[in-house]
Symmetry: C2
Subunit: 470 residues, 2 copies
């Protein structure tokens, strides 16, 4: 049995590894159009910052390791067309020729491509020595080459999502001044505005010139880069100049090959798959940033993330070798980002997502200490907690705190609770660990839960009173 | 309605607060036999170390705060006898007189008392200016007074459980040399011996002279303290001398009042209560370190801990004012301790507890990185994972890692999963947060889960082969 996988990033390699684990007789070939199989693209900001000195360290596994698992890697080989009936994959080989690779099972793991925002002067010739995307290892090396050879003292970052913020930190760490533009009212559209505001303050302290609620309308790149900025519907514009510009405005699923092969698309134009990562085309599976994401609270969704790509790839690999009892349980929307000394994390639904999905959300914003205040170094964690007013089901949590406050694992507690359909009352029952230097007898999450219950109860009483008063 | 609570520590105060919250008309009186209501006795080691300068900072709340919640505190008032029929509590008042306090509802929250191990010379006159217990704030102040006034360069600590280890760190931090004796083969009987061994190495690095598998058979206190040590059944003895000795050999439930009032005892001689903290005696509730602990995997158990005392107290307070729909969901055995730069944590069952409880446990010991190795500061977390071979249910986790590795919150993820009856496969499905400086795409827990499944599957295959070969 020959399994061919298109794409050598998280989903593709996870599928390859799982297939070989379950069926060591399976012939597994991974086709990828660059020279960077199994790289951690989430690590790019830390290469650019200088914290990771050698880009090759960003590989999850070396070629030798992949080879030792019995996986054949075909680098610099671009998949051009999937022939469903003949079970052939047409590829352009590294020497520019073309070749057909036959498959019994195929996994499409083509990932996502960067969204190019509508900015005058940006559409064509995007990647020059002054304007960069940061999506692949090749992108990262090109940018690093510019940072090392050109005099870069000021960088313009277009976009303030997860990657944009990590890049703002990375370049600041290098000593580059960062001006950053976000079209939305706040950075990180997925988190609570109050918490976003606090993170914005952190960026300001670190010297990042973040401008939110502001669109970049045009871009001119010559010996430097000038952008024109306009605030919402205002006709007034301003301009600012930097040595380079980096465009990080999100990603979209890469589906061309799948569509040409007749695959159905789903949410956000991503390849539709069932929970076994089957596309509906016989023998063809898909996983990772190119497919829809099953969300435990929202149903079909699209949330491209490395963790999910690994999980989906693992399922696809199992399904491809005939182990069809494994299904993707789905995500709950867990995300985390470190920005300088602060960590912001979320899981579950925002209030808007919750209402749209038919829940009756009620949200509180509060804060709690990471450990007993009497022990040195106690810090405040800001928490936003959303629950359903009628069922008291936990719907979502956002947290912001310093790196020392373990926000990145506290959100995992919430995610685990959410994934079990836990109620707010049951959060209070959780048997969580406590020692004064590292916690509080009622954990921060439980303090938020208690406050949520109190406020919901007061709200109900106030509604009852109003009803009684007619 | 008058609620009287015997005991002013975690359970007693949690009960008082909850009763007042639910029924502001309720008259709540807390009777305690010392002058330290609502103190965090878990914080004592950090007062002794010097990290908490003022002992009064160890209070969770001040007297004024308690008073503002409408709670009457009767300090230095010892409860002597409960009269069930007349609903009176006989007390010795601060001036040495006696007084009856009438109650409609009573919560017994008398806590635990230290176990005094059988050591020749120890039984009588335990607390001198050379020999100390460390259980109450008064104990802590007495010890601190000795540390400040006597020349203490070497301390003998009898016991290496949670408190013993925290004290070893505290005194070392003060510059006192610590010799520590543990009768069991390893420190912290509740954790995996491999992990215990690693923690023992950490203590050695920090200069603590820990001797395990060794009993203290006699103790002589004069101008200094000399103990005689014997190893298991060996008749050979050695002696060692220090300036002071501290006895921390665990605790036992304080049940005298309850027993005299006719309360039934349960596991480990603790006061039996149902999940509403009812003792079975009309109008009398009990909570905290004096009662049994409902354990979600073991049933009736005894695990005296501050977190549990808070939860039980909260339930008792609610039940006492007639809100009887709240029940204590039970613990899963979560514990954590920081010892110098290492954190060891556990949740669930040890292998022995699991077999005894009728499970079919299988345990693996492995390790995983706390975050991506390419990002600076990655550290190893040692993990022991126990699951049930037939159902694949998660049964227990132990973890050891440096404070930076967030072991204290990673164990909470495991505890939350355990509390929902999660299977090992479902651990792999958890949607946990990832960013390279703080995590790995498959979290350490998921790496352990994957390894457990692989080893169990290999084990099953090997058993099948043996069966086939007859």
């Amino acid at each position: 049995m020959r399994l061919v996988i298109i794409g050598g990033s998280d989903a593709g390699i996870a599928g390859a590894l799982r297939a070989r684990e379950l069926d060591p007789s399976c012939d597994v070939t991974v086709v990828l159009d660059d020279a960077y199989p199994n790289f951690s693209i989430c690590g790019i900001p830390y290469y650019l910052s200088g914290e990771v000195v050698d880009w090759s360290k960003l590989a999850h596994r070396t070629l030798e390791e992949l080879s030792s698992y019995g996986i054949a890697i075909r680098m610099n080989t671009r998949a051009l067309a999937i022939d469903r009936s003949r079970h052939q994959l047409l590829c352009r080989t590294p020497d520019g020729g073309s070749q057909e690779i036959s498959w019994d099972r195929l996994i499409i793991a083509t990932g996502a491509t960067p969204v190019i925002p509508t900015i005058e002067g940006l559409s064509a010739g995007l990647q020059t020595d002054r304007v960069f995307l940061v999506h692949t290892i090749a992108d990262a090396r090109a940018l690093m080459s510019a940072l090392s050879s050109v005099q870069v003292t000021r960088a313009l970052i277009i976009g303030a999502g997860y990657i944009g913020l990590e890049l703002a930190e990375a370049l600041t760490t290098r000593g580059v001044t960062v001006a950053q533009f976000e079209a939305r009212e706040h950075l990180l559209a997925t988190i609570d505005p109050t918490l976003a505001g606090q993170l914005e303050a952190e960026l300001a302290i670190k010297g990042v010139e973040l401008v939110t609620g502001t669109r970049v309308s045009s871009l001119t790149a010559n010996d430097d880069v000038t952008v024109t900025l306009s605030r919402d519907l205002s006709t007034n514009t301003t301009t600012t100049t930097g040595d380079i510009a980096i465009v990080v405005a999100g990603v979209q699923p890469e589906t061309d090959l799948a569509v040409a092969a007749g695959a159905r698309l789903g949410h956000a134009g991503a390849i539709w798959v069932n929970r076994r990562m089957e596309t509906g085309i016989d023998g063809i599976f898909a996983a990772g940033d190119c497919v829809i994401t099953h969300h435990q609270l929202l149903g079909e969704s699209y949330l491209p993330l490395g963790t999910t790509a690994h999980k989906q790839g693992r399922i696809a690999g199992a399904a491809a070798v005939g182990k069809t009892d494994e299904e993707f349980r789905g995500v709950v929307g867990t995300q985390v980002v470190k920005v300088f000394d602060q960590v912001v994390a979320r899981t579950g639904l925002t209030e808007l997502e919750a209402s749209t999905a038919g829940f009756e959300p009620f949200t509180i914003t509060t804060n709690a200490d990471d450990h007993k205040r009497y022990y040195p170094g106690a810090r405040t964690i800001n928490i936003r907690l959303t629950g359903d007013v009628s069922t008291h089901r936990l719907l979502g949590i956002d947290m912001l705190g310093p790196t020392s406050a373990a926000v990145h694992k506290r959100i995992d507690v919430a995610a685990t609770a959410l994934q079990s359909g836990t109620s707010i009352e049951e959060l209070i029952d959780l048997d969580l660990a406590y020692t004064p230097p590292l916690g509080t007898p009622w954990d921060a999450l439980q303090i938020a839960a208690t406050e949520w219950l109190q406020l919901v109860s007061q709200r109900q009483e106030s509604i009852s009173r109003e009803v009684a008063l007619g």
